[in-house]
């Protein structure tokens, strides 16, 4: 399985600092801050890396904080009914969700 990448080259994207492949970098930076891991470890996060239900420290309070941080840093709004098991179960699910949200805005 391969990750989709942003078709817009970075230099052409003046206003959307946090879009496309940047979503990946932003999400990984958030993982570093929330999980207290090294950037190097976060860099190895792939589509199948397990999150909610796989990492015991990610309880509902921590996930709530994670989602709020994603909203703030990516400038998106995440509705209650968009939060489901599939979106949170793996890193790939979360990234796909974030990229889809960014392409809607």
């Amino acid at each position: 399985m391969t990750m989709s990448t942003n078709p817009v080259p970075q230099e052409d994207c003046e206003v959307c600092e946090a879009s496309g492949t940047d979503a990946d970098a932003t999400l990984k930076a958030i993982m570093v801050d929330v999980l207290g891991i090294d950037a190097q470890d976060a860099a190895e996060f792939g589509p199948e890396t397990g999150l909610f239900g796989h990492l015991p420290e990610l309880d509902s309070m921590a996930v709530a904080g994670l989602l709020t941080e994603i909203e703030d840093r990516l400038g998106i709004v995440i509705e209650d009914d968009e939060v489901d098991g599939e979106m949170l179960e793996t890193y790939g699910g979360l990234l796909n969700f974030a990229e889809a949200k960014l392409s809607d805005t």
Binding site: L35, E57, D59, S60, M61, A64, L66, T68, D80, V83
Partner: protein, 230 residues
């Protein structure tokens, strides 16, 4: 460090006895520290206490009171109001003779405005409430109950509710929706990035970062010494 008791006024007119951690030897500068709230209070407790130790080395006394209903307090959290906590912060300031204030995260919502000082990574009431509502919504959904943040907020406005384990009264919920910290001419903001690392409240597991405590104490010590030099 010493534990001391102080008296917080209650909205009903009586008073409650609360605890405070103090560190100092009666020096000229005394910093009142208003802690972060709820879950964030736990995650930032060590940073807060380590900052006090470093301030002590920099000849600054400090006092960290429990808010009524929080930490060691015997008062009911559900009975607390935002105005009540503002009055409690003023009372702690008077009783301990604070000269400056450091308000952490949501603590900035109740900082006495007449004291010079700092807001560290201030958090608006609406954001605090949103995070608690989201956590509770997720916990409810995991348990198979389909609720929305909006439903819970409406319930909270009417009769209060328990959010992520914290029992909030209706007055507190309604006040938090509107509450924002007011940066006054005397109080400035220290951003999370000013401490050179991510905010420790973000951590899923509580963690410590000695360098952040050092930096926070340094910013405060520099601020106080430049004042006395002026």
């Amino acid at each position: 460090m010493k534990l001391k008791s102080w008296t917080a006024p209650r909205p009903s007119g009586e008073a409650s006895e609360e605890m405070a951690v103090t560190l100092g030897t009666g020096r000229a500068a005394k910093l009142l520290i208003l802690p972060a709230w709820f879950d964030e209070a736990n995650k930032l407790r060590r940073l807060t206490l380590e900052t006090m130790r470093r301030l002590h080395e920099a000849e600054i006394d400090s006092v960290l009171p429990d808010l009524p209903g929080c930490n060691e307090s015997l008062s009911s959290l559900k009975a607390q109001t935002l105005e009540g906590w503002r009055a409690a912060a003023e009372a702690a300031c008077d009783q301990f003779g604070a000269t400056h204030v450091l308000a952490i995260r949501a603590g900035a919502l109740i900082a006495p405005q007449n004291l010079p000082g700092w807001h560290y990574a201030p958090l608006a009431g609406s954001k605090l409430l949103a995070a608690l509502l989201r956590a509770q919504t997720m916990a409810e959904r995991e348990a198979g109950r389909q609720v929305t943040r909006q439903d819970m907020l409406e319930q909270g406005r009417e009769g209060g509710l328990v959010l992520a384990g914290w029992a909030l009264g209706a007055r507190m919920v309604r006040a938090l929706e509107e509450a924002a910290s007011a940066e006054t001419a005397k109080q400035s903001t220290i951003e999370a990035s000013d401490l050179g690392g991510p905010g420790l409240w973000l951590r899923a597991e509580p963690a410590h970062d000695a360098a952040q405590a050092e930096r926070l104490a340094q910013i405060i010590a520099n601020g106080i010494s430049s004042e006395s030099a002026a």
